[in-house]
Symmetry: D2
Subunit: 443 residues, 4 copies
């Protein structure tokens, strides 16, 4: 690993804007954006519908960035922060794998620079203030049974999902039903990832709906005079974290909301910081394109003022075989027919990508045991769809294994202008937006 100060220097980050956390991690001050317009071309990595067989979206993103680096392109990658909870559980962390990882992986997977702790503290401070308000006479008239704001913990703690608090007599708060969610699912995390600075952060925090009065009117965080304290707790968490890949490519790893309940992508500030310093920026959105990438285009890009020049769709033969009906235990065996049947899934995602008027490259994330026959099935179908499908080996070969992919992607990206066509207008009513997404992305 190179000292993070050296990585930052190569990227052109002013040393006075760098706040080191040990030798290999740093935060970059938001003022590093001042006077630096976006210069890079953004490349979005997404994937076909995930299966237990795995797609390796993060590994591909890191590998692609490393491949671009080998081509001499000044590249950075922008990724989500992994969550401690699932890491302590069964999953393998969220930092990529093999020769295409974000490092120091252990640090990133554990406390990292404390962002998720800060989100938890801010979230739970608001919850404590809500209960304190109820306890002290409840001047806002909040219905204690209609409080929406739960608490969070950075852990998969099943027994905390449904709880009754405020027990122990009338000195110990107001009894009510509530529970804990995992920290990454906090609305505060989603807000942190969308905010473009401390002022915007406060505005967004203030508009959080805490719950309802008996007359149905909403009580917001701003009503509780707690936004200032929350913002103080989030002051450092707002700054993007800088680490590097196994091959020393700068990596902005920052923000980690869940894609199933929020937009599921790294922070807007991380993407903007990357675009301000690199010529190529690889970012990812998932789980699959229709869920995470739709939000990336329709929410992140529009708030962030950026747009990808190319979208990469990651697929594995194993996942295609599962979509083609093969059980998990047998995806290792060659089965071109199953791959062919599974391409229906890939085809729908390509169709969806085109609805955003994005150009697309398919990355076949290579696993040991994949056969040429099977790969040919994908390639031939890509020809039919008018796109290119390239085999990539980020896990086993790092950037070198992604050189071909990087060449194709960069060929597309460098001649495209940043643009996409939104799926819906922001001004539309919420029901219409949902209908549009449901019928266009899933229809």
């Amino acid at each position: 690993m190179r000292p993070i100060a050296d990585v930052a220097k190569d990227l052109g980050v002013d040393p006075t804007h760098l706040e080191p956390y040990g030798l290999y991690k740093a935060k970059v001050a938001l003022k590093a954006l001042n006077g630096r317009p976006s210069q890079g071309r953004l490349i979005l990595v997404s994937a076909i519908t995930p299966t237990p067989a795995g797609e390796g979206k993060t590994t591909c993103s890191v590998g692609l960035a490393q491949g671009l680096g080998l081509l001499g392109v000044k590249t950075a990658v922008a990724l989500r922060e992994p969550s401690l909870g699932p890491y302590l559980g069964m999953k393998g962390g969220g930092t990529g794998g093999g020769c295409s990882q974000v490092v120091p992986a252990d640090d990133v997977n554990l406390h990292f620079t404390g962002d998720i702790h800060a989100v938890s503290a801010a979230h739970n401070l608001l919850a404590a203030v809500v209960d304190n308000h109820l306890h002290h006479g409840n001047p806002l008239g909040l219905d204690s049974r209609r409080v929406l704001w739960r608490r969070v913990v950075d852990m998969n703690d099943r027994a905390l999902r449904d709880i009754v608090i405020g027990l122990g007599g009338h000195r110990e708060g107001v009894p009510r039903e509530t529970g804990f969610d995992i920290a990454a699912a906090s609305e505060v995390m989603a807000i942190l990832c969308l905010a473009d600075g401390i002022h915007d952060l406060k505005q967004r925090l203030g508009r959080i709906v805490i719950g309802f009065r008996s007359d149905g009117s909403a009580v917001e965080a701003a009503d509780l005079k707690v936004v200032g304290a929350m913002a103080v707790l989030l002051r450092d968490a707002l700054k993007p974290n800088l680490v590097q890949t196994t091959e020393g490519v700068p990596a902005f790893v920052h923000g980690g909301p869940f894609a199933n309940i929020a937009h599921g992508t790294n922070s807007i500030t991380a993407t903007r910081m990357a675009l301000a310093h690199a010529d190529a920026v690889v970012t990812e959105a998932g789980f699959a394109f229709e869920l995470g990438a739709e939000k990336f285009f329709d929410i992140n890009c529009r708030y962030g003022g950026f747009a990808p020049c190319c979208t990469v769709l990651v697929a594995t033969l194993r996942a295609l075989k599962m979509h083609g009906g093969v059980p998990l235990a047998q995806v290792g065996a060659p089965d071109p027919g199953a791959v062919s049947r599974g391409l229906a899934n890939l085809e729908k995602h390509v169709e969806n990508i085109r609805k955003f008027e994005q150009r697309c490259v398919v990355a076949i994330n290579h696993f040991p045991g994949d056969t040429e026959d099977e790969i040919a099935v994908v390639r031939d179908h890509a020809d039919v769809l008018g796109i290119e499908a390239v085999v990539a080996k980020p896990f086993s070969e790092g950037g070198e294994g992604c050189r071909a992919l990087a060449e194709k992607v960069w060929a597309v990206a460098r001649r495209s202008r940043p643009y996409f066509k939104p799926l819906y207008e922001w001004s539309e009513p919420i029901e219409k937006k949902i209908f549009t997404i449901a019928s266009e992305m899933y229809g």
Copy 2:
């Protein structure tokens, strides 16, 4: 503020042992202790019984360290980490005040280097594993109603003190009564402050009693196979944090258990790190001498293998007046008679100090409005007791205001050998120890 790297350099910390957290905070690797014997003389700062009028023990400790620095003595101060919870509540943080503070105070008072978050995560991981164990058939036969291990949050969150968890049907854990304590009260925090390395930490974590079976036998953390994961979460938290005082004196701020439920002093590793690098090390123990300092001598010193050369007893005229019967609102008015009556409290603490065969200096922490007449009352009584009482002005004048105190203290410390007489033997039964403390310290 000086860059923390410069502070560390002056102290003689090898740069490769320094892990910066921004420009002004750092952790020091435990290996910095390797081959460096304790060289410094330890000075313990404690206080008379606290009142709402305040004593300023931390401010005096910082001021004294700064005073020693002005005398040319290579000095460090070792202090507890403040807790976020009370800080967000009404209290003013735990970093001293005025011209005698630990800086950057906001950082130290907020997330600092994440130690308390790590303690919370390790603590709550154990709790989650306990409930998971109950949910999955409970092979250890733990009585779900006799689980002692609660959860923690770094917040004064009243409504979480008594709760019922595991609700929501049979897929959501086993219903039971429990609650949250404040993170600083975690047994994990107490363990962190006593452990002398990762191996010792694991041993201590493993012996945590989780609860009881119906036959009354205890279940320990080691039975749950979770100690390794807890230790990983605490890996960085185990390393002392280095910051500085307002006048640039190195400050090891590390570990913060509550004195009412644990030993209430900074970590043993922080004190040892300070003693390995400085000639004079100021540390503190409270609330008052009989509570915190008794534990410091009988527990910390014996685990840590160190002993003070001098004990400083902080008193304020205001507190003495309250002990003399004056209500809080009137402690600002001169009242030598009340000061005199309040000296009974100080005298008992001096008696207690002498039971440990410690030499003692009284520091009168000066407040605006203190009169010479009142000060004379204290000085005269100190004469009677055969000790010296020195006025100190750490808040308003910093190290300079503590020069006289530093001179007296250093005069005592440099000619004393590190020694104290324990109050009880470790081998005695717990009831006997409690009886000894009750009758000797409070009798």
Copy 3:
């Protein structure tokens, strides 16, 4: 009111079998059935789908019985016991109304002879034994989170629907989620109404499923050795209660399960007791025919060994108008067209009655303001259906107002043999039975 002893004497009940509760209520010992075969013809009163406008099914049943009495037929009526809970709430009791009531109405609506209290006590004894079992080591291995058996209270007590019990530390039971239902919804009540004696009662109580073990196997009441005590508590509740109507017709009012969760009709023993002593027995089943009467035929009649000779379908013009689309506030205004449209509901019920191969008479329960035109609409449609529709005035005129109805009904009943065709076979699997009911009754 006539003394209940006189009523019983006229009915031919042996005085030694009568257990008086005050002057006007009595229980009849089960041995009164010994040696007395069923001699009466059973007449079932049901209704079209209920609306807030009311149908007066009980009032019609009482009125019809009084009308039969006026014809010189030795008649009894068999009805459900009202529940205290709804009575204390908004509803008007369950004893009929006006000139066609069961009396003493207040007594019957309140504690009556204590049957529902006995059901509650037996039900809650089982619940207490379940929790006691969990508390004392749980030798049966019941999963405390999968206990199905809740508690009951004879009251609409909303706050008891979802509760957590067993709190207060490990001496106070095992914490778990449960709740209270209304007593009439108790499975014990349903059992009481089906049991034909104390032995059968015990068998049925023993088969109650309390909950499940973690392996999914069921724990039954018999496993808890509590059935004997439950039966002792139900000893008197098992005996039918005898009261009278406003015109002195004997009324067996006994058992009151809810039709939405159980069979919803009076006890089998009450019906059998009435059939053993009277020549005509009027009983009722609702809410509407397809819900309550289906169960009456397919469950009660088959367990009880009886069958109706005629089914009376009660309708009101007001309800028909609501089925025809008229809002509640306007059902008082004449609207023959709406009545006509509403007849679709009546027609489906007639079709359902015919599936049981029952002969049917429609009773138009007359309200002030009903017009001849509207009545003619119903009569004409009844003609088309090949049945008779008769106006009855039980509320305003008592038995005399039901004389015409009684004549028609008796004409049918006395020349029919007790018979019906079941909708399904008991040996069919539960899914098939449900499918049959859904498609035949509601299809």
Copy 4:
């Protein structure tokens, strides 16, 4: 057993005032008191401090009444109703034993005439109304955490002692901590036993304190407009129940509050009904004299307007031996020394009886194995105290075994006027009353 109508007739109860519950139980209408002044002499049976060895207070009361009957005195006994809960648990019911029981014992021990069910229903109705009030906007401003009014169930149901109710979302009531007590401990039961009619009952119910507002002011049942409905539910429960003893002596068994939390004696109306019809009325108060009898004199007698003419103090040699230090397992063995030592307890009770200026007879409730030597010890000490001690055998010999006791008691009672000296004045403050009781009865 004689028909209860015959028992009532002998007693002189007007048949129109008798409401039979089966052949052997009846309620007596309150109007039976009209125009019938108290004519009988009241005899109070109490006991020495109870031990697990048992005293047989109820058995002695019944035996004494039967003994008086044998003397030709027109006698009745007035007793508490047993509670279902303890009966289903381990205790043996509360109807006396052997040849001196109240019959039909099973009926009395089970539902009897439904009084306790009615008390439960009225109690729980109030609780339901409290929660309904909280749910519907809480116009009275009751603090949901300071509701004193719990619920009751006539069962020892441990798991209901501490519960959380109102869960399940905002449509299901307001979450709060509460619990169930046993029905006999209901304040409604205590009120029922003190009320002298329906009007007084309503007044007393209305003054029940439900809980407090946040300002500390009390909310009473009358504020909730529920007293009328409660009184309706208690209408019949207010009437004394009439049964008989094994030898046919009339027994008024009515009301059963617990002596540890209330006055612990049968209803005032039962005692008055007995005094209005019999020449001698035996009633009891316990557990021991200082607890139950103190309340009987200072509360019941003063509300009821009656006073005993003689107090009988029941003792057993077995209990005296336990008071003398013998363990339970050995009380069967003769030990005159232990009896002698145990007499200290008896002596204090005699002293207490004399504080009320009552004349006293000691009844030695004979057990098989009691020796003449031991009995002589008691007799001799009684001589010293100036009272008579008589052996009674109510269990084994019924009234005949109590003939000697009856003669002594009647000799005292018939020449004493009804009188006692209260221990305290009602107008004294509550603290003073408690102090008086503590120092006089226990001092």
